[in-house]
């Protein structure tokens, strides 16, 4: 195989790449569906109906898209600076824990302030957890992939300790926290649904990240560091400071994903508060080409898959894990599609 660089493609083609990847992924999904013995047509229909067919379903898809948007933004922002944040899962949990703490022992303040406190706590907890591997990277040159990953497991067990200990619901033997006080819960914004404030916050986050990326000095520096840290340093940019700030923002966004799950969906802190949202964030970020708008669209796509897979499973017997399979396939398809925009591939036989 010969891979040779090609001239840069015009912008509009670049935009089509994720779309093409999505379509290719949906087509390839037929394979696991068929292997599972599911009816192909029924599967696709039930997937889309289940995710988008009714008002309630559509709003549920939006609900599920919120944490995915947050983790997607977290990973996208970090990857852009080549801070390989695989620890969004742990940062999410940190945010969830902090939000639960504030939410359970909610101080007697007006609701708006309490909500602000909850979000701030979650953001800072997630951000702080992300700065640990960032510090290790800048000060000791320890690989960020491994440390962010390992810290996921540390935070997971930390949460286990808390849920079997100080944060456990009194009288219960399950790892479950007391309920979050009413005042600390995100209000539902649309009747007959679970569409909550967190979704709006997620959309605001998209705008904020977009703004930071394109309009601020920090956004420029973050990108420069991601492209070539040596040249960035040469130009006078404080690379370590940029990495730390990037980690803080990235971890904070992941933390907000945790906040939403606790104060809007489950109203308790649980061990399985996150079915891998942090890892999904990686796929979502790549599919969105590390751009905030692409990320939120891609988060919505994955939400469709996840929500739709539930109803597909009920109607066709295809295991719900097909959502994870599709997610993995989507990442790989997207990678290949990205490559094809930059290189020409020719199979060569000698």
């Amino acid at each position: 195989m010969i891979v040779s660089k090609r001239a840069p493609l015009p912008g509009w083609i670049q935009l089509l790449v994720p779309v093409g990847a999505v379509l290719a992924t949906l087509l390839l999904s037929a394979i696991p569906i068929l292997i599972a013995g599911g009816d192909l047509w029924l599967s696709y229909v039930s997937l889309f109906r289940g995710a988008l067919g009714t008002r309630y379903n559509f709003l549920e898809t939006c609900v599920k898209a919120a944490p995915l948007t947050f983790t997607g933004l977290a990973v996208a922002f970090a990857f852009r600076a080549k801070f390989w944040n695989i620890g969004a899962e742990g940062q999410l949990l940190a945010g969830a824990i902090a939000a639960a703490w504030v939410g359970i022992y909610a101080p007697p303040l007006p609701k708006a302030l309490v909500l602000l406190l909850v979000c701030a706590a979650g953001f800072l907890a997630g951000g702080a957890w992300a700065t640990i591997p960032a510090l290790l990277k800048t000060k000791y040159r320890v690989d960020d992939v491994v440390t962010t990953l390992l810290l996921n497991y540390v935070m997971w067990h930390l949460m286990g300790y808390l849920l079997f200990g100080p944060l456990q619901m009194p009288g219960s033997s399950w790892p479950r926290s007391p309920a979050v006080a009413e005042i600390a819960r995100f209000p539902v914004l649309l009747i007959r649904s679970r569409f909550h404030l967190g979704i709006v916050i997620a959309l605001v986050a998209v705008l904020v990240v977009w703004f930071v990326n394109s309009k601020t000095v920090f956004g420029y520096q973050s990108r420069a560091v991601g492209v070539n840290p040596r040249a960035a340093a040469f130009g006078g940019i404080n690379v370590n400071a940029v990495i730390m700030k990037t980690a803080l923002l990235s971890g904070g966004l992941a933390g907000l994903a945790g906040v939403g799950e606790v104060v809007a969906i489950h109203f308790h802190l649980l061990m399985d508060i996150s079915p891998g949202f942090g890892y999904s964030g990686i796929v979502i970020a790549m599919l969105g080409r590390l751009h905030p708008v692409g990320t939120v669209l891609s988060a919505f796509f994955f939400s469709v898959i996840i929500v739709g897979a539930q109803s597909m499973s009920r109607l066709t017997g295809v295991p719900t894990y097909i959502a994870e399979v599709i997610q993995g396939m989507a990442l790989i398809v997207m990678l290949i599609a990205l490559l094809l925009t930059e290189y020409r591939v020719k199979a060569v036989r000698d």
Binding site: D143, A323, L331, I332
Partner: protein, 314 residues
């Protein structure tokens, strides 16, 4: 406190250490082969899970443990070849390719298992490997039962360490692998096929990773659970760094981790007043601390992470 110092306790601890360390040794050796050739294989966690699942299902259906191990190795090879296609031939980012393989494999493992087994109340089990005693050596006090009355796969893992060492440092293949990892241009100009070398190393590494996963469901335990690998793949990646990309030192790291893992389990049982979840954290924290400790002298193969293409001058 006296309970800790009994021979029974120490023997039990060391035996458990070997059991805990073995899958990591397989993973570390596999990852060393990949990284020495210049490819960071972050698919290891997913490959180990697929190996665990495939091995388990194969044994469940055929009744043969070794067939399960072979199937796990094969699955490891196939997934690694896919990794080779993405990262070596297409030259995609090794970080993201590997993570993609892990995510894909994780979903696939759960999907296939659910298809094959459904969701029964009692998950199916197999009759796992039994321990095989090495005559005479297993009679030695303390170390006898701990090291020489183990599963065959443990012996295999330990044997592979010097074998991989010899391969890397005493054979022409090993020199070729190391050169490909340090300076692929140098290897190319003496006629070594860089991409083929990387692919073969990935395949061999993948086989080892698969077997490491199978150990978890066919020897260590006797059933398949979604979190059976539980981050051991990532520990193996850390151990490669910790061992400075050397098989013997990597094994030492794996044993240290296995020791801490085994210790934490036993200390819980002894009623120490520290909540057991915090014990679970110890091995991971120690790994992070160890990485910081070695970071100064850690010397990754210079060609790691860079896809190799003949220079396209403009």
């Amino acid at each position: 406190m006296e309970q800790i110092m009994t021979t029974a306790f120490i023997t039990g601890l060391l035996a458990a250490m070997m059991r805990m360390a073995t899958p990591i040794i397989f993973g570390t050796l596999g990852e060393i082969l990949c990284e020495r050739a210049g490819v960071l294989n972050l698919g290891i966690e997913g490959i180990m899970l697929m190996g665990a699942m495939t091995g388990f299902l194969t044994t469940l259906t055929t009744g043969s443990l070794w067939l399960g191990v072979a199937a796990a190795a094969l699955v490891g090879v196939l997934l690694s070849l896919f990794m080779a296609f993405l990262a070596v031939y297409l030259g995609l980012s090794q970080h993201v390719s590997g993570l993609g393989i892990t995510l894909f494999s994780t979903g696939l493992a759960m999907f296939i298992y659910r298809l094959a087994v459904g969701s029964p109340v009692n998950p199916p089990t197999v009759r796992p490997f039994t321990q095989t005693a090495i005559p005479f050596l297993s009679e030695l006090p303390v170390v006898g039962p701990a090291f020489f009355n183990q599963y065959v796969l443990v012996y295999i893992a330990l044997l592979l360490v010097p074998l991989v060492w010899i391969l890397l440092y005493r054979t022409s293949w090993g020199l070729a692998i190391r050169t490909v990892g340090e300076n692929p241009f140098a290897a190319d100009t003496v006629g070594i096929d860089v991409n083929l070398t990387r692919t073969l190393c990935l395949a061999a590494g993948g086989a080892l990773m698969g077997v490491g996963g199978a150990f978890l469901t066919l020897a260590h335990q006797n059933m398949f659970l979604i979190d059976v690998v539980g981050g051991r793949g990532w520990i193996a990646v850390a151990m490669v760094i910790f061992g400075n990309w050397d098989p013997a030192k990597g094994m030492a790291g794996a044993m240290i981790f296995g020791f801490l893992d085994a210790l934490q389990l036993r200390l819980q049982g002894l009623g120490f007043n520290i909540p057991f979840h915090l014990f679970l954290i110890i091995p991971y924290l120690m790994t992070v601390v160890a990485l910081v400790g070695v970071s100064r002298r850690a010397a990754a193969p210079a060609g790691l992470l860079k896809p190799y293409r003949r220079e396209e001058k403009g």
